[in-house]
Every structure is written in C-alpha cells, then in structure tokens.
Amino acid sequence: MSLPLFKNDEPLVKPAAQVLSLPARVQARKFMFAPILRKIATAVVPPLVTVIALLLIWQILCDKPGATLPAPTVVWKEAKDLIIDPFFVYGTQDVGLGWRVLVSLERVAIGFGLAAVAGILVGSLIGQSDWAMRGLDPVFQVLRTVPPLAWLPISLAAFRDSSPSAIFVIFITSIWPIIINTAVGIRNIPMDYRNVAAVLRLNAFEFFYRIMIPSAAPYIFTGLRIGIGLAWLAIVAAEMLTGGVGIGFFIWDAWNSSRLPDIVVALVYIGLVGFVLDRVVGFLGNLATRGTAAS
C-alpha cells in the first residue's frame, strides 16, 4: 500500500516549482463539476429522502385490507392517466389536470392582477395620507379577517354567475396583505427621498412612480407573495362550490363519485402549483428590488 502512494507523491513534488499555472487550470476544470453536482445533491437528496419516507409510511398504513384511504400503489394504478398525461382531452368535462390547473390559474391571474393594482394604489393612499389611514385602516382591519368563502354567497348574489364570483373571492382574499404591506412600505420611505422629491418639485404622479413604488418595492412584493398564496388557497375552495372546469371542482367531483386516488393526484398538483407561484413572485421581487435592497 505504501509503495504506490510514495510513487504518486513524487511527480507531484517535482514539477510544482517549474510549471504552476497550467496543471492548476486543468485541475480547476476537472473539479468544476464536482461542486455543482454536490450542490445539486445537497439540494435534492434530503427532500427526496423525506418524500420516499413519507410514501413508505403511507404505503404501510394504507396497505391493509379495509383501509379508508388508497395507498400510493393504488393511486398509481387507478389514476395513472392523470399522473402521466396532464393535458388529455376526452370530452368537455373529462380533461387532464393540467387543463384544469390552467383554468384555475386564469381565474387567479385575473383576480390577483386586479387585487395587485387596486391594492398597491389603495395602499399608497393609506401610506401617504394620514386621513386615509385613519378612515380606511380600521375598516380594512375588520374586513381582512373575513374568511374567503364567507364572501362567496354575497358575490354570487351580486354577480349571479359563478365565474366572476370566484374571481371576486380571489380578489377580496388577496388584496388585504397587498394593501397593508404597501402602506407600511410607503410609510417607511426615508425622509431623504421625500426631500429630494421636494427640491426637484416632482409632481404627485412622478413622485408615485419615481420614488414611492421603487422605494416601497420590497414591502410591496412581500404583500404580493402573501397575496398569491392566499389567492391559490381560496380558488380551490371557491371552485368546489361554484363548479366549472377548475381544479377545485375536480376534487369535489371526484369526492362525489368516490374517486379518492384522483383527489390525491389533484392535491399534489395544487401543492406544486402553489409552490411554483410563490417562487415566481419571489423571483420577480428579487429582480425588481435589487437596487433598493442594497443601499
């Protein structure tokens, strides 16, 4: 054992003094992959282990005859088409989960988009004006505690149609954190920036988009991120009650026809999409607030 080691050591010592940069470069290139692989491994392996462990526990618990819930193997066997092909179309009501998620996402996009615009505007007003704060804040603090689904009957009565009602529920659920966080962000604009704006005589509109929005952007994106999470929570519940093609109604439909494996697959879809939505808003926030964060 000691002999080959000694032999390997010898050539390393000799050229080290003569050529330094060239071997080092080759080495660096070779080692490039290792850290990346290690990084991926450290990110992927722990959650993978957790998932496998959870699936195993689930399998053991539900594998007995007479179990109330389907085991993972049963889910795979019975809902294979849903898992493998998210975009099949067999009929108007029989489509893949990908399509259903897209329909739900469209509703969220409209409701959340409106909430974002309205929330930022109203939040700016509350942050900027003491009187708007005094007048609106107590009302909003009460309204924001109303659960999303409690709004549904009222909106159904008002809109007399399920689709705008679902969108309204998204809107009303996700707007509060956007308003509140925007207002806090506006209140925290440093006096210096306000002084600069005053010396330059920026008008209200210029002040809004030159100073307020960029300065409050980190807060606004915190609000948007909470808001999109709430919106996704609410859409599933709202669709269960309003019907249509969305993922929420799919769950309700599957429950009514006792297709438990389908529900399990839908839950996974919902979780993954919610995760992606959160990350997308977070990523946009990072992009938009690079400047403000580093001051």
Partner: protein
Amino acid sequence: MERPYLKIDHVSKTFQRGGAVSEVLKDVSLVINKGEYVSVIGHSGCGKSTLLNMVSGLLPVTSGAILLEDREVNSPGPDRAVVFQNHSLLPWLSVYDNVKLAVDKVFSRTRSRTERHEWTMHNLELVQMAHAKDKRPAEISGGMKQRVGLARALSMEPKVLLLDEPFGALDALTRAHLQDSVMQIHASLGNTVIMITHDVDEAVLLSDRIVMLTNGPAAHVGEVLDVGLGRPRKRLELVSNTQYIKAREGVLKFLYERHRFVEAA
C-alpha cells in the same frame, strides 16, 4: 450698495411637540451676495441644519422671511439645490439616472433630449464621476456618492447651492479631495454657496465669510468673520499664512471660549 441677493431677515423657528415649545433659532439675520461662499458653523444641535432647511424651503419659517432675489422663499425648489449630508441618492437609479432625473425635471421644457444628456454628462465630468455613470450608488464609495450628489445639485443650475455638512461622513483624505473639487467648481462657476459645517479648517479654507451661531436654544448669529483670503487658495500654502491662522483662531475662540458647548464633555 449692492442689492442683497439672498436675505435672511429676522428669521425665527420654533418647534412644537405636544405642549412643549422649543425655540431653535431666534432673530437670525444675514445678507449673502451673489457668488459668495458663506459657511455656517456652530456646535451640534444649535440649529445650523434647521437654518439651511428653511433656506431650502423644506421647513417653514416661524417668523421673519427669507428672500431670494426679492422673492420670498416658502417652498422647496431647484433654484436652491441641496447636497445632503448622507448623499440621498436614489439607490434604484444609476449614477447617471440620479443626475438625469434632476436635469430632466428642471430643463424638461427648455432643452432638447440630447442637450439634457450632454448637460448630465457635463456635470458628472465636473465632479470627475463620468467613469462610473452606469454604477448604482451602492457600488461606489462614500466620497463618490457625495460627488454625485454635488453633480445632481449643480446640474439644476441653482441660484444658491446649499451644502448640509456635505463632507461630514467622509474620512479626512477624501474630505480634502472633495473640498478641493468644490473650490475648483466654485472658482469656475461662481456659485453662491451656503455650507453648514462643524469643521473649523473646512470653513476657513472654503469660505469668504463664516457665520457663527451661538448655542441653542434660541440660537442667533453670534459673529460673522470675514476670512479675507484671496483666491485661488492652496491648502498647503495656507498652513503658514498669517491671515489663515488669524481667521482660524477667531473661529476657534468663538466656539471654545465664548460659546463653549457645555453639554459636550
């Protein structure tokens, strides 16, 4: 007699918080001529910055009036550009855009797009910051930020340039560098400048006159010293200049003999 350019006429300032009324400045009068460089010096808390903020219009005067070319100052505006102590650059804009924002706002009607671009670059060159025009404020040093702040103020072509302890947060070497730049710019453009400072050497080196405020509360102008040194001034030559030493002594005596800051111990 020359017509006064900027006139601070019996200005007083009181702040009210709850029931407590505190009188910060009382009966401050001062006349500043065009092209003059005036420093305001005093112990911390005496109301130097309050005075400057009133000239800039960021704070309203309680009584008295401030007149710039015979017109009363009662709101902020680009004719009284301020260089703030902590630079106050907008961190989400590049160096260029920070200056351009001011140029676009002030000259939106009077100059074309290319003229505004050239004017922005001209002012960045004036403070030797053209090389960093695409950097964000977070990427440049404190002295550089202050230079950009100066460029932003200069670019507005203000009637009065207000410097609020502009070099206070900088190290001694950077400060000296910037002081030289300000002297050069003042020599070539002939701006009217009011500078707040608590640095005696800085005041004597840069100013034509030094206004010394007494300790607050109710601070007033204790003494006005004519520096009486010719320009251009050279830092090294002044060290042994008798006039410089005399002026320096005058300010020091005022600050440390007659108006010793009791609370500072």
